[in-house]
């Protein structure tokens, strides 16, 4: 099985986000970088499928050259090689991003190396556009399932499981196909030390992608106004239990 898994380098956001002075980005001075939880599961699933069926997985990203860190993370888990579409870290919209990824797949196809499965996270944690995988599937005319939380492959067919309200939906598609996955698909492994060492010598193919152009332009970012005034300190330690019970009574959670 030949798998392409697409990831995005994003700031490792924690307690509170701050913005840069021009308000066009998150201030990452004190932040590390990572990939989103959905994408961690996409990488893990790619590795599991390769372990089960043989073949190889390639990881792809579009972004700054520093994204090598995230590509190597994926390779440390068992992905064979990587493609870096280096756009110098420019903020590309979903139309341009999907266009560049589709071109890579077209190139793989013409080299006789077409992927059977292309995996994305359901949405990027930062931009939350919910569409890059969908646009890639459309450009390549491939079947697509979004929000996938379970995958079973049998004889060139794939059954994808996703949740819809309280029900579970199964979709059977033939391969090749595009899936966008959600966290909960699997429990990703941690990279091993040998895995991390091996990743450093795995090949990364660097390309300069062409920007199609998106009609959407960011004007500014801002932090939402917190409508929670918050901050009544009830007390410290077990002595505060009386106060907690009072609050529970006040809220009608416990009978007065």
């Amino acid at each position: 099985m030949r798998i392409l898994v697409c990831i995005k380098r994003v700031p490792q956001a924690g307690g509170k986000l701050t913005l840069t002075e021009d308000k066009l980005a998150i201030d990452t001075k004190f932040l590390g970088f990572t990939i989103g939880p959905h994408e961690e599961c996409a990488v893990e699933e790619a590795v599991r499928l390769i372990e089960k069926f043989g073949g190889s997985a390639t990881v792809l990203t579009l972004g700054h050259a520093d994204s090598v860190e995230q590509l190597q993370f994926a390779m440390s888990l068992g992905v064979a090689d990587a493609i870096l579409l280096d756009n110098n870290g420019a903020e590309w919209g979903p139309i341009s991003t999907a266009g560049a990824i589709a071109m890579v797949v077209e190139e793989m196809r013409s080299n006789g190396d077409a992927p059977d499965l292309i995996l994305f996270g359901n949405e990027a944690p930062d931009s939350g556009d919910f569409q890059v995988g969908i646009r890639v599937a459309n450009a390549l005319d491939l079947p697509l399932v979004t929000g996938v939380k379970g995958i079973e492959v049998l004889d060139g067919e794939l059954v994808a499981r996703r949740e819809s309200g309280s029900t579970v939906e199964l979709t059977k598609v033939s391969l090749p196909a595009v899936l966008t996955v959600k966290e909960g698909l699997n429990l990703p492994r941690y990279p091993s030390l040998p895995g991390r060492l091996k990743a450093k010598s795995k090949p990364i193919k660097k390309e300069s992608p062409k920007e199609k152009g998106d009609p959407t332009k960011m004007v500014q970012l801002r932090l939402p106004v917190e409508d929670r005034t918050g901050g009544v300190l009830l007390g410290e330690g077990p002595d505060s239990v009386g106060k907690i019970v009072e609050v529970l009574k006040e809220l009608g959670v416990v009978a007065r």
Partner: protein, 326 residues
């Protein structure tokens, strides 16, 4: 024309779709364009009346049984066909998983921009939008240049017909298009009904959350016990599912379940933005944490500093002494 994708469930338009219809009605008022809707399935008189309350002039309906329960490529074709017939310039929808996917597929087919999770859209030689990034931890103000067609999904919001809008008689227009292999190759093939193990996290009136501070899988016993007394459901932070202490279905947050209970008791949870994105809609948050500087302590309505393993057992004791829950 403005075209709004609506989902119909149990003979009603779902709330997420009505949020989009509200936005559509507002834009129709500002631009003088008329407002139409598109839906898949059946639409009763009460659905038409509901939409008429927002000034909707017509409903394009695709009723081919093969499109049910969910054939996303077919649904997208319904949107594209309705847009061709109505010559709509703006396409809207709710922010459910289904509407998001269908709008994204339709916009790809139409080679149109799709802007997801919009709080506001204003028409101004193009479009000014405010939208959610980081699941609402950041808001982006953006400009979309004037396009032949532009597609937006609306964040769920208060639903109201704009004042002064007239109730209209909604014309039903049946869509007819071929539903073939291309529309059905990635359609849902089977629906499994829930096994029915109690109230889901998203529907719970009271939720008790546990984070890294719980310390171990066994540490959750005390949370489970308190949940039993209060009739609450236990949820967890991402650290807990990442460690394999509890299954992912228990996770509250940006990539887990979004909750909206009357009361959320967060125990040993620091309050990372990804977690807060999942519990922001709680009416009241009570945080118990050893670290008084943890972000959740200033975000919560009530905070208690201390070890949850000392506080919760005493709380359980006290509640048992007080007796019955409400």
């Amino acid at each position: 024309m403005i075209l709004c994708l609506v989902e119909i469930s149990d003979d009603k338009v779902v709330d997420a779709s009505l949020s989009a219809v509200s936005l559509g009605a507002k834009l129709a008022g500002e631009t003088g364009l008329s407002l139409a809707c598109v839906a898949i399935g059946e639409a009763s008189d009460s659905v038409l009346k509901e939409l008429g309350g927002f000034g909707v002039s017509s409903l394009y309906l695709a009723s081919d049984a093969k499109l049910m329960p969910f054939a996303p490529a077919g649904w997208a074709k319904a949107v594209v066909t309705a847009r061709d017939e109505s010559e709509a310039k703006i396409i809207l929808g709710g922010s459910t998983d289904r509407s998001t996917e269908v709008l994204a597929r339709a916009s790809a087919k139409l080679e149109a921009p799709f802007v997801a999770n919009c709080l506001h859209v204003t028409v101004a030689s193009g479009y000014q939008v405010s939208r959610l990034r980081w699941a609402g931890s950041i808001i982006e103000d953006a400009f979309v240049s004037d396009e032949p067609v532009a597609v937006f999904s609306a964040v769920q919001s208060d639903i109201a017909a704009p004042s002064g809008s007239k109730e209209t008689e909604v014309q039903l227009r049946q869509l007819s298009f071929e539903v073939g292999e291309a529309e059905l190759r990635d359609a849902v093939t089977e629906v499994l009904l829930p096994t029915g193990d109690g109230v889901s996290l998203s529907d719970s009136r009271i939720v008790i959350g546990g984070g890294r501070g719980v310390g171990s899988p066994e540490g959750f016993k005390v949370l489970d016990e308190l949940a039993g007394i209060l009739g609450a459901t236990v949820g967890v932070s991402r650290v807990v599912t990442g460690l394999g202490w509890r299954p992912h279905k228990d996770q509250i947050g940006q990539t887990g379940t979004k909750i909206a209970p009357e009361l959320y008791i967060a125990c040993g949870i620091s309050g990372a933005i990804q977690h807060m994105a999942g519990c922001r809609s709680a009416k009241c948050i009570l945080a118990i944490n050893q670290d008084r500087d943890a972000p959740i302590m200033s975000l919560a309505d009530y905070a208690v500093v201390g070890d949850l393993h000392k506080i919760l057992p005493k709380l359980i004791e006290e509640l048992n002494a007080v007796g019955a829950k409400s």
